[in-house]
Amino acid sequence: MEDVGSIVAFWMLSVIAVAAALMVVAARNLIHAVLFLILSFIGVAGLYLTLSADFVAVTQILIYAGAISVLILFAILLTPRAARDNAETFLQVPGLVVAALVAVTMGAIVLVTDWNEATRGAFPETAEAIGEALLDKYVLPFEIASVVLLAAMVGAIVLVRED
């Protein structure tokens, strides 16, 4: 991580991800907020690439920036008479206080703790290793995850079905 390219990439992607997340808060139109949310997802996917997580970065773009964002847009467009102004509730100030306290606490923990860092080599390819781990060491959680997805799919269809 000593070369200049990695450092520049980290700072640019971090600024994109955090600024887009702040625009999700600040945007006054809910559709614009979703578009900034997609930009934040893409920034985080780039940060995954700088951490040599190629498979997770592609998964992030496919599922978050692709599927979940389209799902959220559909939910907004299918509720046409609901408010679109992305406004806050009366809990705005308490929410701000809680979020600031959480940020300060986690930041202090990050800076104080002496993380037991291991030596890190060059960027390895992770897709093959993840595939082997999913079908060997983590095969039971893998199967349970497929059952969870099936249950969620059936549940979503049953919930929105017209009687």
């Binding site: 999700v24 997580a53 997770v56 998964t59 799902l71 959220i72 939910a75 408010a83 809680v98 995850a145």
Partner: protein
């Protein structure tokens, strides 16, 4: 100066706090879901950072965890949006200030 583990952890903490604020303060139910997705993203970023900096390079357990988190997040998003649709069909609104049927 180089990019260290704490840089990534701080970005994750900031993203998590922004998502927490969105989830606590937004009035639209879909807005709250967007905050929860931001929090998922921050946690995933932290997991990948630890997988890169703390665990040995041959260990991909952190990556596998993130794949599972993304799977569960997708299921959660589908169900939450289905619930929002049902609420909208019954109440003509998904404004959580007006969904107060179970309030004391």
């Amino acid at each position: 100066m180089s990019v260290e583990l704490s840089h990534y952890l701080l970005v994750g903490a900031i993203l998590f706090s922004i998502g927490l604020y969105v989830a606590l303060a937004k009035r639209n139910a879909v807005g709250i879901l967007m905050g929860i997705e931001l929090m998922f993203n921050a946690v995933n970023l932290t997991l990948i950072a630890f997988a890169r900096f703390v665990s040995p390079p041959t260990d991909v357990s952190g990556h596998v965890f993130v794949v599972f988190v993304i799977t569960v997040a997708a299921a959660e998003a589908a169900l939450a949006l289905a619930l929002a649709m049902v609420v909208y069909r019954n109440r003509e609104t998904i404004d959580i200030d007006k969904i107060n049927l179970m309030r004391w």
